[in-house]
């Protein structure tokens, strides 16, 4: 079931995924291109190496689950699923088009691989917790991966889940934070006192690792020894950059919202080439 993709191959796919994202934002005329680009390396590591998945039997009881709790990063997820063979890359053209199956936030039931609808921040970790509990009850090897954004950690529900996952020793629950340090109205730590983020999670009883979320070596090194500690939920605080991979989008709040122009798409695709 588990194919091995080489290091190089995963990096190549990440580039392809970023190219899809830029094109989707342009064709769909939607926001959130920056939010999608910041989590591409995490997603490609998960889908091409870390998670036990089977695109043909994606909902089978013993394969791993993924929830995109930061639902607005959905272009990156759609593109990853397409690259990994859950559906064709042709399908990506439906993004944000009338009658399409790909909305600006994930909707379940329309495409393989998407089990949980999101879009309102602060739900995914609790849903994932419920799924992790069910898997423990069933003694299933399936693990639940949940990708959150930093702004999302403003929501109280995130911390309710954080506390309760520890209470049940859910070491089959893995959270990843796409810590790009920007949220919708400004820099995350200027909006709210997020830091020290790592200590907060640790205080809630999670096994924490802090990594560079764009360095594939670091991502794999960390996620290849899950759970970080037996009997504890794991969390990766991944330092990332909004708009990663397209120089003029990087670390700029504007690219949470802006739709790239034709010239900007061209420029972006020029930058997003195989090394």
């Amino acid at each position: 079931m588990k194919e091995l993709y080489s290091h190089h191959e995963i990096q190549q796919r990440a580039i392809l995924i970023r190219r899809h994202v830029v094109k989707m934002a342009f064709e769909g005329k939607t926001s959130h291109v920056g939010s999608s680009l910041s989590c591409v390396d995490l997603l490609s590591a998960l889908y091409f190496r870390i998670m036990t998945i089977d695109p043909q039997n994606w909902n089978e009881a013993n394969v791993d689950r993924f929830i995109l709790s930061k639902g607005h990063g959905v272009m990156a997820w759609f593109a990853t699923l397409a690259e990994r063979g859950f559906f064709s890359t042709e399908t990506l053209k439906e993004y944000a088009q009338d009658g399409g199956r790909l909305a600006e936030h994930p909707s379940h039931g329309l495409l393989p691989g998407i089990k949980v609808s999101t879009g309102s921040l602060g739900h995914g970790l609790s849903v994932g917790l419920g799924m992790a509990l069910a898997k423990k009850m069933d003694q299933s090897p399936s693990r639940i991966f949940v990708l959150l954004s930093d702004g999302e950690c403003n929501e109280g529900s995130v911390w309710e889940a954080a506390m309760y996952a520890t209470h049940h020793k859910l070491d089959n629950l893995i959270a990843l934070i796409d810590y790009n340090k920007i949220q919708a109205m400004g820099r995350s730590n200027e909006v709210n006192a997020l830091e020290p983020l790592r200590d907060k999670w640790r205080a809630f009883g999670w096994a924490v690792e802090e990594i560079n979320g764009h360095n594939l070596d670091e991502i794999l090194k960390s996620l290849e020894h899950l759970p970080f500690q037996s009997g504890k939920p794991s969390i990766v605080v991944a330092h990332t950059v909004l708009g990663k991979g397209v120089s003029f989008m990087e670390d700029d709040l504007l690219w949470h919202y802006q739709v790239p122009s034709e010239i900007q798409v061209k420029q972006a695709l020029e930058e997003l080439k195989s090394p």
């Binding site: 944000a96 009338d98 909305a103 600006e104 039931g109 879009g119 702004g151 949220q183 109205m185 400004g186």
Partner: protein, 311 residues
Amino acid sequence: MRNAFIQKLMELAEHERDLILLTGDLGFKVLDKFRDKYPKRFFNIGVAEANMASIAAGLALEGKRPFMYSIATFATMRCYEQIRNDICFHKANVKIVSVGGGYSYGPNGPSHHALTDIAIMRALPEMTVISPGDPIEAACATQAAYHYPGPVYIRLGRSNEPVIHPKDLKFEVGKGIIVQEGEDIALISTGNMLETVVSVSKSLSSLGLSVRVVSLHTVKPLDEQLLKDCFTNFPAIFTIEEHSIIGGLGSALLEFAVQNDFNHSKLKCIAVPDHTIHETGSHDYLKKICGLSPEQIVERIQKTMKELHLC
């Protein structure tokens, strides 16, 4: 509508020192000018709507006059008990302003579609519910809500609604606006459907019907006098809204008719069916799926009028 809202709020803030604006990390470029001019009276609470609603209650209980702002789903559903217990139980002077009523956030998907917000807000004791029909009404509603005691919910559309009313519009909370007078049928609209309803009335007029068009911006409390007049003098009344058929304007009018012994069979409700649309699409596309395009509404009204032998 959101620009009309913030412009009016800026004007009010100049003299009203207790006016405070809270946001749930939304309003990039829209609220910026308020933040820049009144940094001490602006709080981005972060992505934490429940926290925001309770904080607003606390501020109000100490004499401040907070407005809280978010997308309609998050501003009402994410923090419903906070609104009920902390704001409404205490009759706290909090104004909840939301953007994205109905399907205005089209391709964003169902998480962003606000189709039951009027229903749940209307059900709360003490809550006043206003759903402005154009940018002029939005500005008027902002000003009126500020001076109106107790909790008020203002449901805005998004950003590109056309201006329908004259600038010097007379606006009062709880008083509907007759946009156009007529005799054969009454169309009662709330919120961002007004543009569609005006276009529907034009089509019906050209078919020979004399149409009264009402913008019933305040869904709670209802304009009883105006509704009495409609039920007494019109053979057919249609409510038209971009909201679920359950619990919105149509339901409110049915409750009114039944409780006041008016002939409720005169009333037909045009609204969003009881469903969730998972596929994506533009605002107009999604309205069409629900039978809410101008052409579909005209057809539906004509059919009903024939069934009632009124044309």
